[in-house]
């Protein structure tokens, strides 16, 4: 385990090297939140509750959604695919370390950098600037755990996209498509309650909603009955485990491209 801790530590330090970037991400996020604030204020102009969400809940959902998005945005699909294309992956393959776990923990290091440098400042701004009230309940306690699961699921999508480089030799388009699909289908951009009924049903059986909708609902509606909370969390854990195993199998298949046809 110590070796993986070393990897988290290393990635965290690498993330911290680019401190100037944080300032711009925070500023950009502030602008986005300002726009979202006025947009949702006008949506809620004539009513107090829409699709079962109050303004405060909806805005908290959106704002937190953007904070989580930035938190999980580590560009690991980009660096994994670059490593595969330029052949530097062999440097990782000569080390006594599992490739999936190594990239997972590298990613975790970057996420921790984001957490300290971007997400926490954004959360503070949310409370101070936009004067949002934060609800408390059983769901609040489950939120951190749900966030970790969301991280694992998000990582699996990145890892899968990155590994596609073994076949496609370029993943630019794939990465962009993946980001868009996740942003829309996960409920990060607009709460899933605002989607048409039929589409909601489809989206709830797909894994995307477990990345944003699950943790965000735990946080914005923490007072739901515990069966509902536990159910959401269970589905999320199931997807996390399933995706880890699926991407593991995919790696074993994809690495054959390198091992058989050369690097």
């Amino acid at each position: 385990m110590k070796k993986y801790f070393a990897i988290i530590r290393g990635a965290f330090m690498v993330g911290m090297v680019y401190r100037l970037g944080f300032i711009f991400t925070i500023l950009g996020n502030l602008v986005y939140l300002g726009v979202a604030y006025y947009l949702w204020t006008s949506i809620y102009e004539t009513t107090n509750v829409m699709r079962g969400l109050t303004f405060n809940e909806a805005f908290l959902y959106i704002a937190l959604g953007s904070a989580v998005f930035i938190l999980l945005k580590t560009y690991s699909d980009w660096w994994i695919s670059r490593e595969i294309i330029d052949g530097n992956i062999i440097i990782d393959l000569i080390k006594p370390i599992d490739y999936q776990l190594m990239t997972l923990f590298t990613n975790l290091g970057f996420v921790l950098t984001n957490l300290i440098a971007i997400t926490i400042p954004t959360a503070l701004m949310l409370v101070l600037v936009f004067n949002v009230t934060i609800p408390y309940g059983a769901g609040t306690l489950l939120f951190p755990f749900s966030l970790i699961m969301a991280f694992v699921i998000s990582y699996c999508f990145d890892y899968f996209t990155g590994l596609l480089a073994f076949y496609t030799e370029s993943t630019w388009g794939l990465s962009i498509t993946k980001d868009t699909i996740i942003l829309v289908f996960s409920g990060a951009l607009v709460p899933l309650q605002f989607f048409p009924e039929g589409m909601q049903k489809v989206l709830m059986v797909l894994p995307f909603q477990t990345m944003y909708h699950t943790p965000l609902m735990l946080f914005t509606r923490p007072d739901q009955p515990w069966e509902a909370l536990a159910g959401m969390l269970l589905v999320q854990c199931g997807w996390a485990l399933g995706l880890i195993l699926l991407t593991r199998l995919f790696y074993l298949q994809a690495i054959k491209v390198l091992r058989i046809s050369g690097g």
Binding site: M13, P96, I260
Partner: protein
């Protein structure tokens, strides 16, 4: 039992025959027209613990492919390969613990971090204890003054400094075997000398087996007792470096640039050489680029100085260079039967 046993090792790649142009690129999507490239073709050799081997050959000879198979990155197409008794690709993670690798063109250090942090991370990855780590870093500090680089970001290191750090990293976990793939590429003479001292020292004090791939015959001459020459995937020579040395050492190429050069000058030169030095003179002449003529001389038969003064007095020579024999020439000589 030998540390590394390779028997009839093959690695064949299927390479798609690409067509030209836009239409060709489209057709390639459906093409099943593959070429089989035999990157490694029936290679066999054993390496004992503590040996230092020069594994050489021209570009594309199959050196790196063999190394990638020994490190477990590539899977052999057929044949057997055992490192410390196990096939490397079957259990990559366990095997990685007993190997160190330096790829001259890449670095295993963390690009954005100070040098010392990379060593600390590697220390944990390879589960090296603190005492071994301190001893190792102390040794390298003594040999090459590594300490002054500790706080520098890897990206700011010069090529030579980075390579020294990479070599330090590859020996950190006291591996049984270290693969050095072109470790001296692009380095100047003084750094090369430093590098050779370090490698020799580690081989002697720790009995680490070292397999050195290089283009620079000087590296092999300075370090290795045994040399394996490979070309087009096949082993051409495997034996004592002294035997090869006698050959390379004796040969020099004299490059001369002659004013008003044409075909007839070359013929005249060859003719007069035979007249002056006799038929069995060990001299061969060829024009390699415009106006430059290569005269390869076997010094065991004709002294270089004699040829030089002869050419200078008889031809309108504009410029002269003397070069050591190149890898391609060595391989050609081996093909011609110079070592058999």
């Amino acid at each position: 039992m030998s540390l590394i046993q390779i028997k009839d090792l093959n690695k064949h790649f299927n390479v798609l025959n690409r067509r030209e142009g836009l239409g060709g690129a489209f057709l390639d999507l459906f093409s099943g027209d593959y070429n089989i490239v035999r990157a490694v073709d029936g290679v066999s050799f054993d390496i004992e613990a503590g040996e230092m081997i020069g594994y050489i050959g021209p570009n594309g000879a199959g050196k790196s492919t063999t190394i990638k198979m020994m490190t477990g990155i590539l899977k052999p197409s057929s044949g057997a390969i055992l490192v410390n008794g196990f096939p490397p690709h079957a259990n990559r993670i366990r095997q990685a613990q007993i190997m160190g690798v330096v790829f001259g063109q890449r670095t295993q250090l963390w690009w954005d971090l100070p040098v010392i942090e990379s060593f600390k991370i590697l220390k944990d990855i390879y589960r090296v204890d603190q005492k071994t780590f301190d001893d190792h870093m102390g040794l390298f500090n003594e040999l090459v003054g590594l300490k002054q680089l500790y706080k520098q970001q890897v990206r700011t290191l010069s090529l030579g400094q980075r390579m020294l750090c990479d070599i330090t990293a590859s020996f950190l976990h006291n591996p049984q075997v270290v693969f050095l793939d072109e470790p001296t590429i692009g380095l100047d003479i003084s750094v090369k000398a430093k590098m050779r001292t370090v490698i020799k020292e580690l081989n002697q004090t720790r009995n680490t087996t070292i397999i050195l791939t290089t283009h620079d015959l000087g590296d092999v001459e300075a370090l290795c007792r045994r040399i394996i020459i490979i070309d087009k995937g096949k082993v051409l020579f495997d034996g004592d470096v002294k035997k090869v040395n006698a050959l390379f050492g004796a040969y020099r190429t004299l490059k001369v640039q002659v004013n008003d050069f044409d075909e007839s000058t070359l013929k005249a030169l060859a003719g007069q050489m035979i007249q002056h030095f006799g038929t069995n003179n060990g001299i061969s002449i060829s024009e390699v680029e415009k106006h430059w003529t290569d005269i390869t001389i076997d010094q065991a038969r004709t002294p270089l100085a004699d040829v030089l003064s002869f050419v200078m007095t008889n031809f309108p020579v504009h410029d002269v260079r003397i070069v050591e024999i190149s890898m391609e020439n060595v391989v050609q000589k081996v093909y011609d039967g110079a070592l058999s």
